[in-house]
């Protein structure tokens, strides 16, 4: 058991981070290189001002027509995504790990906040799952991969939540938690979770076209 | 070319009143000056539905129901498209051609001005007419009219297959071809577009589309054996009759001569190619990269590029120099041998080289006033209208044709006076 734990919390972490970072860089760089190779004209229309205008606008809840049209979804999706990114970074237990491993003192929030955020991510995942099953326009375009990526995202939070509360076999749960987190990281560049990497680019391009050429709003 | 030796290169200024024409007629349309500058002419409205042409204050003998497209032939004859009793033809110095048509349009002149051609339609049948004589053959549709440089030959895209509106598959089998002096090629194409007649008048080359996807150049009805995703207008080499056209290869444009790619470089855009008079150089408007325009000579682009437009390429007579007009934003510029003049304009016309190729002059407009610029020095006169400057055969003098303060002026000035 200890061997497994040492492996998943040691070398595998490195592997996960390397795969995540290298894979992400590969995705972004290869995309830009592809633009350069085949659609070079896009660079001529990219505008820093309008890219930012679009990204910021869509990053604010209820700032766009569509966010306002879907208030529940808007609240859930913003809460979900914020917690998804923030919780792993500042959960106390992670902070302690970072301190122990590299002797870096890392800011963290209280266990309660961490717990709440975890619940939000889990609840968000359930919300998205229900949405996929219930709403016809979502169901129609849902494929197996959509459930898989939802599971990949939810897994580290569910396992983390269980492990933290030590409801089941804690050591096993810890291992599951670590592995699922590593899977999620590694999956980002290689599944449609890469919307995390690419959406700023699509948003920026559309923002530039709408702002700089079409003199219109893209929200 | 026009021999301008016999023109008056001595009298420094001649004036013809122009503005007072407006008192004589209901309205006076935009004026045209003759190549030698001796005449100023305009279409005038005499009365309701009655038009005439006024030349140096005198009208033509007869009025017409409509007069339009007033143009001087390079040899100084004045032509206009006219209609009488619902029929149309061309009038030359006031005399209509004997043959009348359902419609006549698109006047073209040979470079010496001796031959004049128009497109004509009679009873919905189309043909070309040169000096009043129409082709024997007619076609149900015709477009892309072409006159050889000496005016001895005419050509056009003509419809030779029948199809009704909506018969798309019949259309796609090919219903068009090109006709030289009325005689259609045997081969049918889906489309035939711009064409050129060889200097010896024996060959005709045209852009063709073989189906909806494959483009090439056809010469005398025979398509090149290689096809491209697109092509632009072909031209003939002035000496050796080869055909040169831009072709699209793998998403970029290349220059082809008799179906062989001749320039190393590929361009985002490539068109308006022109040979130097001796045929030794080939220049074209190019976009070396997206949104950047310039001129390439023998495939090598000028370093300077422009955002919007490059147009009006003009070679010097020895082929050593090249001038063009360029546009960026609202600013029009003159570029000579890759160098941009300091003066900029609201509009600029095709540059003209002096016979010794030392001087370049161009008609330009700024803030609604017209003038002439020569070697980047702007003539001080601000005119209501101006025509292209003309150099004397010895290159020492320049002819200005302008309208100032309501009068038409023909001025001869030593080139050095403006060049400084």
């Amino acid at each position: 058991m200890h061997d497994v734990y040492n492996f998943v919390s040691g070398p595998l972490v490195w592997v996960a981070f390397i795969v995540f970072i290298a894979g992400s860089l590969y995705r972004v760089i290869s995309l830009i290189m592809l633009v350069n190779k085949k659609e070079k004209f896009i660079f001529d229309y990219m505008s820093f001002k309008y890219s930012l205008r679009s990204i910021i606008r869509w990053s604010i809840p209820f700032a766009t027509v569509n966010w306002r049209k879907h208030p529940v979804l808007t609240v859930v999706t913003f809460a979900f995504h914020i917690c998804l990114i923030v919780a792993p970074l500042f959960i106390l237990a992670h902070s302690v790990l970072i301190d122990e491993s590299w002797n870096i003192s890392w800011w963290s929030f209280s266990d309660t906040i961490g717990d709440i955020m975890t619940v939000i991510v889990i609840a968000g995942s359930i919300f998205f799952l229900i949405r996929r099953v219930v709403l016809p326009e979502v169901k129609f375009v849902t494929s197996a991969s959509d459930y898989v990526i939802l599971a990949i995202v939810a897994a580290p939070f569910i396992t983390g939540f269980i492990a933290y509360h030590q409801w089941f076999a804690y050591p096993n749960m810890m291992i599951f938690h670590i592995i699922s987190g590593e899977i999620m990281l590694m999956a980002i560049p290689f599944t449609r979770l890469r919307h995390m990497l690419l959406s700023p680019f699509t948003r920026a391009y559309m923002g530039s076209e709408f702002g700089g050429v079409r003199h219109s709003k893209d929200w | 070319m026009i021999d301008s030796k016999s023109w008056d290169w001595e009298t420094s200024e001649k004036v013809i009143e122009f503005d007072d024409w407006k008192n004589k007629f209901k309205w006076v349309e935009e004026p045209y000056a003759s190549p030698d500058g001796e005449k100023i002419a305009a279409v005038v409205n005499v009365d309701e539905g009655e038009f005439n042409v006024c030349v140096n204050g005198e009208t033509w003998e007869n009025t017409f129901d409509k007069v339009w497209y007033l143009r001087f032939s390079p040899d100084g004859r004045l032509t206009a498209l006219i209609s009488e009793m619902g029929e149309w033809t061309l009038a030359v110095d006031g005399t209509p051609w004997e043959d009348k048509y359902g419609y006549a349009w698109n006047t073209m002149f040979s470079s010496d001005g001796k031959n004049i051609a128009v497109a004509v339609q009679q009873d919905m049948k189309y043909s070309m007419a040169v000096n009043g004589i129409a082709w024997k053959q007619t076609y149900p549709n015709m477009t892309n009219y072409t006159l050889s440089s000496d005016g001895s030959k005419t050509a056009a895209s003509v419809q030779v297959g029948e199809f009704d509106s909506g018969e798309i598959h019949k259309f796609q089998e090919g219903a068009y071809t090109a006709a030289l002096d009325g005689k259609a090629w045997d081969t049918k194409f889906v489309n035939v577009w711009n064409m050129a007649i060889s200097p010896d008048g024996k060959s005709l080359a045209a852009e063709v589309r073989l189906n909806l996807y494959d483009y090439t150049i056809a010469v005398n009805g025979k398509p090149w054996d290689k096809t491209y995703t697109s092509v632009w207008e072909p031209i003939f080499h002035p000496e050796n009759n080869t055909v040169v056209a831009p072709v699209r290869v793998e998403g970029k444009w290349a220059m082809a001569e008799d179906n062989k790619l001749i320039w190393d470089r590929r361009f985002v855009q490539l068109w308006n190619q022109v040979f130097s008079p001796d045929g030794k150089k080939l220049a074209a408007v190019v976009a070396p990269s997206y949104g950047k325009w310039t001129v390439a000579i023998d495939g090598i682009p000028w370093k300077v590029t422009f955002r919007d437009l490059v147009t009006d390429l003009a070679f010097s007579s020895d082929g050593e120099r090249l001038a063009a007009v360029a546009k960026e934003g609202e600013t029009w510029k003159i570029v000579v041998d890759g160098k941009v003049w300091n003066n900029t304009f609201d509009m600029a016309w095709k540059p003209v080289f002096s016979p010794d190729n030392q001087y370049v002059a161009s008609r330009v407009e700024k803030k609604g006033k017209y003038t002439v610029v020569l070697n980047d020095r702007v003539w001080s006169h601000k005119c209501e209208a101006a025509w292209d400057p003309v150099f004397s055969p010895d290159g020492n003098k320049i002819l200005f044709r302008t309208i100032e303060n309501g009068n038409y002026y023909r001025r001869i000035m030593p080139v050095t006076e403006l060049a400084g």
Partner: protein
């Protein structure tokens, strides 16, 4: 353009599709799809497909989806799923029947209005994906008959309606003569080199609606504009090749248009009240030719009228009294930002302007644009049923008091005419030019 009234056929018979499909082999389909995707697309398609999280948030942007009882088959992403996703997933190995459905979707169930691009959190351009599908359709030779015929007309005549070279100047001279009965000194100056403005129109104007040229000439004349119209091909700014995916032909048409303006040495091109033509000259055709922006500035009629009214070059004698509502065409509003100028014009010429909702860049599409109406009578009812939401929107505007519907776009005009007639909304449809012509002072006119 409008189309002949014709009863909808039970099953759509479209020779363009049927004959084309019969000639297809699975090999040809596979080869064509893969070659278009491999050779002609790049980062955009890749990023759009890979970024899409299948959230369905684009659905409510689409008038087809909203009008068809929220049928997910009509949602923007639903259309991508039924076309491009399958093509990519199966690496081009799709059947002729699949392609038939793809033609229906790409050509008659999407107006390329780009409203969905404003609803996608990631800014995915589904209209672009649909144009790639149309490009594949073009390459396979299965484009619907009517629009293909229009593209053929473009290829021969450089205009959309088989208007022959002589018919064009002849029509202009006829309209000039007609207008001279009202303003005796009025001219439609042909081939006037060095004029400030070249006025360009779409071919349905000389073909069916010559009075629009008459009206424009009156406006130009009264405003004292130094303008011209070309007597040669290149006068037509319309472009169905852009919508059939025949990009090479699109480029040829736009080159002809811009080179005509350059030859005439004009400073600007002013275009009539057409939307798709604006798209074609402003950010489609010019780009294919390598021009980042139009080489000679394009001024849409809305902007032109705005400038004339603002500068007092045309004065309104009596404002149009009937309450109006304004339909924002996608290509000049979402595609050109002219919504406030359109409102300035509307308020300047009309007594009362009642907004429809949604409006401006969020307005619902007319369901005619994007080449859909140009696919002809077989799809007329689909177009009308596919836009019930527009009818509802117009009904609400009518309830608010609007009796006249202004739409500065030809496609919108024809499409909305069908909507207004079918749903019995009872609204007059007008161009800005119709109302300006009616309401303006005409100092030189015989009766004025």
């Amino acid at each position: 353009m409008s189309e002949p009234a014709k009863k909808e056929q039970e099953k759509v018979v479209d020779q363009g599709i049927d004959v084309g499909i019969a000639r297809l082999t699975e090999d040809k389909i596979k080869h064509t799809i893969n070659s278009v995707i491999k050779v002609e697309t790049g980062a955009r398609l890749k990023a759009y497909v890979e970024t899409c999280i299948h959230c369905g948030l684009c659905s409510e942007a689409c008038h087809y989806y909203l009008s068809q009882g929220n049928d997910p088959k009509f949602s923007p992403v639903g259309k991508v799923k039924q076309t491009m996703w399958e093509m990519l997933k199966k690496k081009g190995k799709v059947s002729p029947e699949f392609m038939r459905r793809a033609v229906e979707i790409a050509h008659t169930e999407c107006n390329l209005c780009k409203r969905c691009a404003q609803y996608c959190p990631f800014g995915i351009d589904i209209a672009y994906i649909m144009t790639v599908v149309r490009r594949i359709i073009h390459k396979l030779g299965i484009t619907p008959l009517y629009i293909q015929d229009t593209a053929h007309s473009h290829s021969v005549t450089m205009n959309q309606m088989w208007v022959k070279d002589d018919e064009w100047p002849d029509t202009l001279q006829w309209q000039e003569e007609e207008a001279q009965a009202e303003i005796p000194t009025l001219r439609i100056p042909l081939e006037k080199e060095g004029a400030d403005i070249m006025y360009s129109v779409i071919a349905p104007e000389p073909k069916f609606q010559a009075q629009l040229i008459y009206q424009a000439a009156v406006i130009m004349d009264v405003a004292g504009v130094n303008w011209t119209m070309p007597a040669t091909p290149g006068w037509d700014n319309s472009d169905m090749a852009m919508f059939t995916g025949d990009n090479e032909l699109m480029g040829r048409l736009k080159r002809s248009h811009f080179e005509t303006a350059a030859r005439l040495k004009v400073k600007k091109i002013v275009m009539g009240e057409c939307g798709h033509a604006f798209r074609s000259v402003y950010d489609m055709g010019n780009r294919w030719l390598g021009w980042k922006m139009p080489p000679i500035p394009i001024v849409h009629a809305i902007e032109f009228y705005y400038e004339l009214l603002k500068a007092g070059k045309i004065k309104i004698a009596k404002k149009y009294a009937t309450p109006v509502t304004l339909h924002d065409p996608c290509n000049v509003v979402r595609g050109g930002g002219l919504e406030e100028k359109a409102r300035y014009v509307a308020h300047a010429i009309c007594e009362e302007v009642i907004e429809m909702h949604p409006n401006r860049e969020h307005n619902y599409c007319c369901c005619a644009g994007g080449g859909v109406i140009n696919c002809g009578p077989p799809y007329k009812m689909k177009r009308i049923k596919g836009n019930k939401v527009k009818a509802d929107q117009l009904f609400r505007a009518k309830t608010d008091g609007a009796e006249t519907l202004i739409t500065p776009c030809h496609n919108c005009h024809s499409g909305l005419h069908d909507i207004v007639t079918h749903y019995e909304i009872g609204m007059d449809i007008k161009f800005f030019g119709d109302i300006i012509y009616e309401a303006m002072e005409k100092p030189g006119a015989i009766d004025g």
